[in-house]
């Protein structure tokens, strides 16, 4: 039985240990990406790029759990959506400044993640997926009925309060740079988490849980921590989305949203740093193109899902990495 997250075979790993060229330098690519994102809104509609950044962070947070802890959550919309509501409430009713609103949303995501995680990690594999889905559906019904969410209407016209109370956020361009900042912080946290002793323990639990436990690691504790971090960052993405669209609605908490984020990670490449970003970019662009034509977008997403599982399990970035590693091992 192959593990869902073990997309690299031995040859890839061996080849990677040899590849230390400048092209494999993470910092170089991060710097190039950052510069591109800095100038992007001057060429592309900033709200569109900001939306991609929000969903890329969401997918990367989700991937932290699936790709590096081996836990498939089907309930991440709960964190994304609930944090959006909390941020919306803080900005609209309590008059928080932008950064406090986003922090409040992130905290809400973490707290909800703690509650859901405590229950979900009691079972493994497909049960974990079903439990997270069911708990997220519960959150959906709460959002539907609770007075502060606005029910079917959602929260509309959420004000873009000034950052730190002084920096104006009323233009799309300023909000874009705020979202870019949030995105970079989120991605940095994910990168540090994966490349830390904590991340290594997570991977060992993913590969062989009984063995990790026998080595003295409290597996449940690590899984819960990963779940909370992932939930908090998903919440941060949801909060940033409120700043962009000035709106929080039931769409954000629905199970379809949970499915979308799974698709972004799977399409881009599970367990890669760049994969979720690529996946989110493609899916969001696709939705943008197909939004006018009824439910074509759902049909295409379903078809892409089936195709990825049947024939493209490494995802786009995973496939490129794999090919690249094979090519290098052959040419050297």
């Amino acid at each position: 039985m192959t593990d869902i997250t073990k997309t690299e075979d031995a040859r890839t790993v061996r080849a990677r240990s040899r590849s230390s060229s400048i092209l494999a330098d993470v910092r170089l690519w991060a710097a190039i990406g950052f510069v591109l994102l800095l100038i992007a809104p001057h060429y592309v509609y900033p709200v569109f790029v900001a939306k991609i950044l929000c969903f890329a962070l969401f997918a990367a947070a989700f991937n932290l759990l699936l790709g590096f802890a081996g836990l498939l959550s089907f309930g991440h919309a709960a964190f994304f959506g609930m944090s959006a509501y909390v941020t919306g409430y803080c900005l609209q009713t309590l008059g928080f400044s932008a950064e406090l609103g986003i922090l409040a949303g992130t905290a809400a995501g973490a707290l909800l993640g703690l509650g859901m995680g405590l229950l979900a990690i009691r079972r493994q594999g497909i049960y974990f997926a079903m439990i997270t889905l069911a708990l997220a559906q519960m959150v959906y019904f709460v959002a539907l009925q609770a007075p502060f969410t606005g029910g079917e209407d959602g929260m509309q016209g959420v004000p873009r309060n000034a950052l730190f109370g002084v920096i104006d956020m009323s233009t799309n361009m300023n909000v874009y740079y705020l979202v870019l900042g949030v995105f970079c912080i989120g991605l940095f946290i994910i990168y540090r988490t994966v490349h830390s002793p904590f991340g290594q323990v997570l991977k060992s639990i993913r590969e062989n849980e009984p063995r990790a436990i026998s080595l003295g690691y409290d597996a449940d504790h690590y899984k819960l921590m990963a779940f909370v971090i992932s939930a908090a960052l998903s919440g941060m993405a949801g909060s940033a989305k409120v700043m962009v669209f000035q709106l929080a609605s039931l769409t954000d908490v629905q199970w379809q949203m949970s499915g979308e984020v799974v698709l972004m990670a799977v399409l881009g490449g599970i367990g890669t740093m760049l994969g979720p970003i690529v996946g989110a970019t493609i899916i969001i662009s696709l939705q943008n193109e197909l939004a006018q034509i009824g439910s074509i977008s759902t049909i295409v997403q379903g078809a892409v899902f089936v195709f990825c599982v049947l024939a493209f399990r490494r995802g786009i970035v995973g496939e490129i990495k794999h090919r690249w590693a094979l090519w290098r091992s052959r040419s050297s």
Partner: protein, 294 residues
Amino acid sequence: MDFLGVPFPVFAGQLLIGLINGAFYAVLSLGLALIFGLLNIVNFAHGALYMVGAFVAFLLLDVLGIGYWPALVLSPIIVGVFGMAIERFLLRPIADLDHLYGLLLTFGLALLIEGLFRQVYGVSGETYAIPAALQGGFNLGFMFLPTYRAWVIVAAVVVCGATWFLIEQTRLGATMRAAVENADLVRAFGVNVPLLVTLTYGLGVALAAFAGVLAAPIYSVNPLMGSNIIIVVFAIVVIGGLGSIKGAILSGFLLGIAEGVTRVYYPEASNIIIFVVMAVVLIVRPAGLFGKTA
């Protein structure tokens, strides 16, 4: 005439609705449990296929003029064959991979099927008339019992019982159970296990379609009807544990009733009561009420 603080007719009415919902939960979770037993995957497309079952009945009537009773047999067969094709051509190639892939694939299928029906029929839904023989109802003195609702409960109990009998009491069922325990060994005895797997998936899916036909006259035939119910059924499956046929049937009915009773006393919570029960069960008995191992 009060019963536990509410008028008895109100209580009985909600209990009946609970029983009917429970009947659908039971038939659907039974199908999921069957499929899980042999294929080790959770069939995310189950809700979509339940919806397809209802639509096939609607189309049989609308296009071919075939009525309710033949549809009750034809629709499960048509959807069952469709399911067998899904198993043979989509699920079998990935059978040796992590079972989460099966979940992802069937999720994609659910999106695909639901999207297609939504594209063609919209979200408003189609109506399906109650067959002539089952119209009207009985006056029980304290409440009015529509005949069709009584029929749904009876039909669900009979189908659940028949499936239980097939699995637990017949030679075919014994072979299936043996294949669940140790597929390789059963194969060594000359049993065509892959065919058995295909048939099991077909049977599970046919059960979903049967539930769909039963549901057609009660709820509107709607492309979204499947995804609304399937998440609740997943929670029920977590509560009952996927290990046993009896567990799936019992927890389906029990939670339907629990939902009905909650609607009497605290209507706002009736949507989430099953998820709350799931959370409690996970804390107290993580393996599920009828589950053997975690």
